[in-house]
């Protein structure tokens, strides 16, 4: 049995990695563009980002060594980011943006694991689709692969604690993680470009109006889509969910 599933699992893992390396690049309508972040800030965010990547890589390695069958679900978490960041959805503000998809993986594998997956996604998107950029990658990764996942994770844990239903926790986690990502992007831009009048706060309003407001309906969509996929995982991949200890007690 183990032998039988080993090759498909390996195949899907390698395949997923391969495509992360080759096409995961696209999340855009929301990242800071190449060259638009002054050098000092670009370096600053890069330095902040590095510890998260190291911790994340260790977390993934540990989980995979403990339970190799979790590779498929890890692949699924990455693929979900992949799909959602390719969907540029029109929003009520008259512009388009795309969901991040990091909520699902954060709930399943923890926030630092998503720091790694999200950064890989952003890296290839900046290389192949010219969305985001290498210099601004540190800042973009901090928003989408640190702030988003940590918010999603905290919301999920908090929601579970106060006994919200599982689906509602997942929904809320993905929604707030998505919005948090864009608020963080707005803040990063505001810090780098404070207004002459009103300073950082004034700039923040301006960027938040562009990014965060656009993101609200998309974050709702992201929450709903995350619930859909989570329902499917719950239905067919309960084994893995148990291994990941997603449910504290109520394994239904």
């Amino acid at each position: 049995m183990i032998k039988k599933i080993f090759w498909p699992l390996t195949f899907i893992f390698v395949f997923t990695c391969y495509f992360w390396l080759n096409s995961l690049h696209s999340a855009y309508a929301m990242h800071i563009m190449e060259g638009f972040l002054p050098a000092a800030w670009a370096i600053f965010w890069w330095i902040i980002m590095i510890p998260f990547l190291i911790v994340g890589l260790r977390a993934i390695k540990r989980k995979i060594t403990e339970n190799p069958e979790l590779k498929t679900i890890l692949g699924l978490s990455g693929a979900f980011v992949f799909v959602l960041s390719a969907l540029k959805i029109p929003s009520v503000t008259g512009s388009s943006s795309h969901p991040t998809g990091v909520g699902l993986g954060s709930i399943l594998f923890g926030p630092t694991a998503m720091s790694v997956l999200g950064t890989i996604a952003l890296l290839f998107q900046s290389l192949l689709l010219a969305h985001g950029g290498l210099t601004s990658l540190g800042a973009n990764a901090f928003s989408m692969a640190v702030v988003g996942p940590f918010i999603a994770y905290a919301v999920f844990k908090g929601g579970t604690k106060i006994n919200f239903s599982f689906s509602f926790c997942v929904f809320l986690a993905a929604l707030l993680g998505g919005i948090g990502t864009y608020i963080s992007t707005s803040l990063q831009l505001a810090l780098a470009f404070p207004s002459e009048v009103g300073g950082v706060l004034q700039s923040f309003y301006k960027f938040a109006a562009i990014f965060a407001i656009t993101q609200v309906p998309l974050a709702i969509s992201e929450g709903l889509l995350t619930v859909i996929v989570m329902n499917l995982i719950k239905k067919y991949n309960m084994n893995e969910l148990k291994l990941l200890k997603v449910f504290i007690k109520e394994a239904r």
Partner: protein
């Protein structure tokens, strides 16, 4: 059934904006941010250029649809794998 309803709502959310902004092209929010930066700091010029950019909209949409297709493929595989495993395994532990 529940999932179908949720999906319908997602689609609805994507369609509504077309009726709110009938004359908008729904350009990317990052393009707007670029303009906002020009407003706040008119003297700022980007200090690096992207290494490579898709030559045009067609190539870009190719890469995007490829990305979505591949992602969906992986998700479908994993869920399908789980489903078949659940269906064909007799022991209760894989339920």
């Amino acid at each position: 059934m529940k999932n179908t309803l949720l999906l319908a709502f997602v689609i609805l959310l994507a369609i509504i904006p077309f009726y709110i902004h009938r004359d908008s092209e729904f350009g990317g929010a990052d393009g707007q941010a670029e303009e906002a930066i020009q407003e706040i700091a008119p003297e700022y010029t980007p200090w690096v250029q992207a290494l490579w950019e898709p030559p045009g909209g067609e190539t870009e949409s190719l890469l995007f649809s490829l990305q979505a297709a591949i992602g969906s493929l992986v998700i479908g595989y994993v869920i399908g794998f789980g489903r078949a495993r659940k269906k064909y395994s007799n022991n209760a532990e894989s339920k």
